[in-house]
C-alpha cells in the first residue's frame, strides 16, 4: 500500500515537474506546478507530516499558485513561448548536463550514505525531539513544541521578514509618482 502511494505520488510529482519546464503556455505550467505540489503533499502525509501537508496545500497550491495565475492573467503574458528556438547554442545540452550531474551526485550521495544516516543521531538525541516525542504526541503538537521552544526567535524573525516582504512588494508594485520631490543625490 505504501509502495502504491509512493509510486502514484512520485508519478504526480515527476509528471508535474516535467510539465512545468516543457509547457510553453504559462497557465499550463502553473497547473502542472499544482500537480507537483499536491504530489509533495501526498508524500508528506505518507511520512506522517500531516501539518506540513495541510500547509503545503493551503500555502503553496492555494496561495502561491493563485498568485502566479493572478500575475499571468493581470499582465496578459499568457502568450505561448516558442520553445523550439534555442537562443544560445549548446544551452539545452549544457543545462541537461548540469541537471543530470546534479541528479547523479545527489543520488550517489543518498545511496552511498544510506546505511550511516542515523549514526550521528545519539550525539544529539538529548534534545526534546526524541523519537518518543514524535511517537506519542500528534504531529502538530510536536511541531509546535519544537517551534515555540527551540526556534521561537526564528519564528518571531519570520514576522519581520513577512512585514519587510509586504512593504517591499507594495513599494515595488506601486506606480512611481511623478518625481517632484526627488532630490538628486
Amino acid at each position: 500500500m505504501q509502495l502504491f502511494v509512493f509510486i502514484c505520488a512520485g508519478l504526480m510529482i515527476l509528471v508535474g515537474a516535467v510539465g512545468v519546464i516543457t509547457r510553453s503556455h504559462p497557465v499550463h505550467a502553473a497547473l502542472s506546478l499544482i500537480l507537483t505540489l499536491f504530489g509533495v503533499a501526498v508524500m508528506y502525509i505518507a511520512q506522517d507530516a500531516q501539518f506540513l501537508a495541510a500547509v503545503q496545500v493551503i500555502v503553496y497550491a492555494g496561495a502561491i499558485v493563485v498568485l502566479f495565475l493572478f500575475v499571468i492573467m493581470l499582465l496578459g503574458v499568457d502568450k505561448m513561448e516558442d520553445l523550439r528556438i534555442e537562443p544560445f547554442k549548446l544551452q539545452r545540452k549544457v543545462a541537461a548536463l548540469v541537471g543530470g550531474g546534479v541528479i547523479g551526485l545527489i543520488v550517489f550521495a543518498a545511496i552511498s550514505s544510506r546505511d550511516n544516516i542515523g549514526l550521528a543521531k545519539p550525539a544529539q538525541s538529548d534534545a526534546v525531539t526524541a523519537v518518543g516525542t514524535v511517537a506519542h504526541d500528534s504531529n502538530v503538537r510536536s511541531i509546535a513544541r519544537d517551534l515555540f521552544s527551540d526556534h521561537v526567535l526564528a519564528f518571531e524573525l519570520t514576522s519581520v521578514l513577512l512585514v519587510i516582504a509586504v512593504v517591499g512588494t507594495v513599494l515595488l508594485a506601486r506606480r512611481a509618482p511623478k518625481p517632484t520631490t526627488e532630490t538628486s543625490a
Binding site: L14, A17, M43, V71, G99, K121, T129, D150, T158, L172
Partner: protein, 104 residues
C-alpha cells in the same frame, strides 16, 4: 510492513530528480515567471528530503525547518512577482535575456 515499502532513500532519490528537473528549468526557460516556478520546484525537492530525513531520524526539527522554508518561499514569491510585475509593466514580453541591466 511490506517488504518493499519505500525507505527514506527512495524519497531522497525522488527529491534529487525533482531538484534536477527544477535546475534544468531555471537554466533553460526564459520566461521569468516560469523560472520562478522552477525555483519553487527546487524548494519543494529540498522540503521533501527534509521531511524524509526527519522521519528517518525521528527528529521533528526537520519538519520545523520545512515550515520556515515555506514561510521564506512565500515571501520570496511575493517579492519576486512584485519585481516581475514592475519589469513587465515597463517592457512587456521581456524575457530573461532582456533583463541584463538593472536600469529600467
Amino acid at each position: 510492513m511490506i517488504a518493499a515499502s519505500p525507505t527514506s532513500t527512495w524519497y531522497l532519490v525522488l527529491a534529487a530528480v525533482l531538484f534536477g528537473i527544477g535546475t534544468v528549468g531555471v537554466l533553460v526557460r526564459r520566461n521569468p515567471l516560469i523560472m520562478l516556478m522552477c525555483v519553487e520546484l527546487m524548494l519543494n525537492a529540498v522540503n521533501l528530503s527534509f521531511v524524509a530525513l526527519s522521519k528517518k531520524l525521528g527528529d521533528i526539527g526537520g519538519q520545523t525547518t520545512v515550515f520556515f522554508v515555506m514561510v521564506v518561499a512565500a515571501a520570496e514569491v511575493v517579492v519576486g512577482l512584485g519585481i516581475i510585475v514592475a519589469i513587465l509593466r515597463r517592457r512587456p514580453n521581456a524575457t530573461a535575456d532582456d533583463l541584463a541591466e538593472l536600469k529600467g
